[in-house]
């Protein structure tokens, strides 16, 4: 690991003042420390946010919105029973990711900032435009299904690995940011960038900007009764998604009044298509209907040489997530969160 200076600010203002080119923010470290060991991240200054006050609480605001401090751990957010009850697919997504140890350390803001798990990005000996602009992309024609079928570019075919970000995108979460120019808010839909010809630009954050909180808007809990995250992966636990989907329905008199659908592991950002949600409005839940929505969501997907299976898998994952959401949110978190192997009858939230 390259050597670095280590600073521990006590306030957001001190943290912002400590930033300079070559600096990185350290949250839980579960992604960053790993990349530093691999030589993929080589910061000059590590700014440890662990002592910064005021970023570790989950607060319900006056209008019913929920504000999650940037340093709240993934585990603490899932253990917040009131939060999990209002936003079950967020809790299910978090619990389907990583391991118990990693969830205890990892922070919600760090989850948004984690890098792709593309093997070629993580291998400092491989060509990667995201890590080293202009170097080329060894992932093209490479091994494995963990690459994008939507929104990719000749420069980069990496996917965003986050589970958490998928329901956040579906629920119109907002990212609160502070930076040298002051504060601003970024919609989840705009937070992660598609690669285009600048794959090294992964998020909309400007240099020196810091995530201070995430916010789920009032009304995002309207999907609580019919809300699931489903994740297909190489093994049942502790693996990144090959394809995933967050599905939420707001039902009125047996019909879909409002719908949310976002797909994970298919692009460099959570993939959400307004037309796919619109086709569900006013309809009665039905597998054929859900298949139409999922097909719209995957429109434009590029199979490349050998990824037709992944497009099919992502579409079927979305259909099944919608079917599960229509059946109702389980009253208790499944033993295997977001798993295709855990489909009990069991009591529903609004049984």
């Amino acid at each position: 690991m390259k050597s670095f200076d280590f600073v521990q600010p006590r306030t957001v203002a001190e943290a912002l003042a400590a930033w300079g080119p070559g600096a990185v923010w350290l949250g839980g470290g579960t992604s960053l420390i790993d990349l530093m060991k691999l030589g993929v991240a080589q910061p000059d200054v590590v700014i440890d946010l662990g002592r910064v006050a005021g970023m570790r609480s989950v607060d319900v605001q006056g209008d019913g919105a929920v504000r999650i401090g940037a340093l709240v751990s993934n585990a603490d957010l899932t253990r917040d029973a009131a939060f999990a009850a209002r936003f079950p697919m967020v809790a299910e997504a978090l619990l389907s990711g990583a391991s118990g140890q990693l969830r205890n350390a990892a922070t919600v803001a760090g989850n948004l900032m984690q890098h792709t798990r593309c093997a070629y990005f993580q291998d400092a000996g491989a060509a990667c435009n995201r890590r080293d602009p202009g170097a080329g992309c060894d992932a093209q024609g490479g091994v494995g299904g963990g690459v994008a079928v939507l929104g990719a570019s000749p420069a980069c075919i990496a996917v965003n690995p986050s589970d958490f970000c998928v329901p956040l995108a579906a629920l119109d979460a907002v990212v609160e940011v502070q930076g040298p120019e002051g504060g601003r808010e970024i919609a989840m839909a705009d937070f992660h960038l598609l690669p285009g010809d600048t794959p090294d630009r992964v998020t909309a954050l400007a240099p020196g900007e810091l995530i201070v909180a995430l916010r789920l808007p009032a009304g995002a809990d309207g999907f609580a009764g019919h809300s699931r995250y489903l994740k297909v992966r190489d093994r049942t636990s502790f693996a990144f998604a090959t394809a995933s989907a967050a599905a939420g329905l707001r039902m009125e008199h047996g019909r879909i009044a409002e719908a949310r659908l976002a797909l994970g592991a298919v692009a460099a950002k959570p993939w959400r298509v307004a037309e796919a949600e619109a086709v569900l409005i006013g309809q009665t839940p039905d597998a054929d209907l859900f298949d139409r929505a999922a097909t719209i969501a995957m429109a434009g997907a590029e199979p490349g040489d050998d990824l037709a299976w992944k497009i099919d898998l992502a579409r079927k994952t979305a259909v099944r997530a919608l079917c599960l959401a229509a059946a109702g949110t389980p009253a208790r978190m499944p033993a295997l969160p977001a798993s295709v192997f855990a489909e009990p009858a069991g009591e529903k939230v609004h049984a």
């Binding site: 521990q8 440890d48 118990g100 140890q101 205890n104 350390a105």
Partner: protein
């Protein structure tokens, strides 16, 4: 610049001076404090051999910079029980043969202790397996590990009720 810090390590206050901020908690324990019960496996947060409790929560010590831990309470396998008075998780691992070569065992036991304190439903083996998925056993002793965690969780719940009564 050396970093001075104080840890509560297995119940005792320890002053530590770090000459380099790159030192992980795992390397601090093994290389500098001679606590070699915590094992280095993958060194990337994937195998769980390095699991310890920080402020009561199980974490991968290989991904934790020691410099972030000033004032923290750290518990390693050396501090969980003693040979004369085993921790219930340790006793259950012996009873249920929850190991073969033993290399992953300190991490398995620390992870199990953390999982039980998180409020595990010990009656559901699936929840035990899911909760322990951050700990890999290359010998494949998972059957015994699952039974051991279940037994320890039951025993600790019963002891807790007795203490409360």
């Amino acid at each position: 610049m050396p970093l001075s810090m104080t840890l509560t390590l297995n119940g005792a206050a320890r002053d530590v001076v770090l000459d380099d901020p790159r030192v992980t908690l795992l390397d601090l324990l093994r290389e500098r404090l001679d606590l070699t019960g915590t094992k280095k496996g993958c060194d990337r947060g994937q195998c769980g051999a390095c699991t310890v409790l920080v402020n009561g929560r199980r974490v991968n010590s290989c991904l934790t910079l020691a410099a972030t831990l000033d004032g923290a309470e750290v518990t390693t396998i050396e501090g969980l029980g003693t040979a004369a008075a085993l921790h219930p998780v340790q006793a259950a691992f012996i009873e249920h043969d929850g190991f073969q070569c033993g290399y992953c065992t300190p991490g398995q036991i620390m992870s199990a202790a953390g999982l039980i304190s998180e409020g595990l439903d010990a009656e559901d083996p699936e929840r035990i397996r899911e909760g322990m998925s951050g700990n890999i056993c290359r010998c494949g002793a998972y059957h015994g590990i699952t039974l051991a965690v279940q037994e320890a969780a039951r025993r600790m719940a019963a002891d807790g009720q007795e203490d409360a009564a």
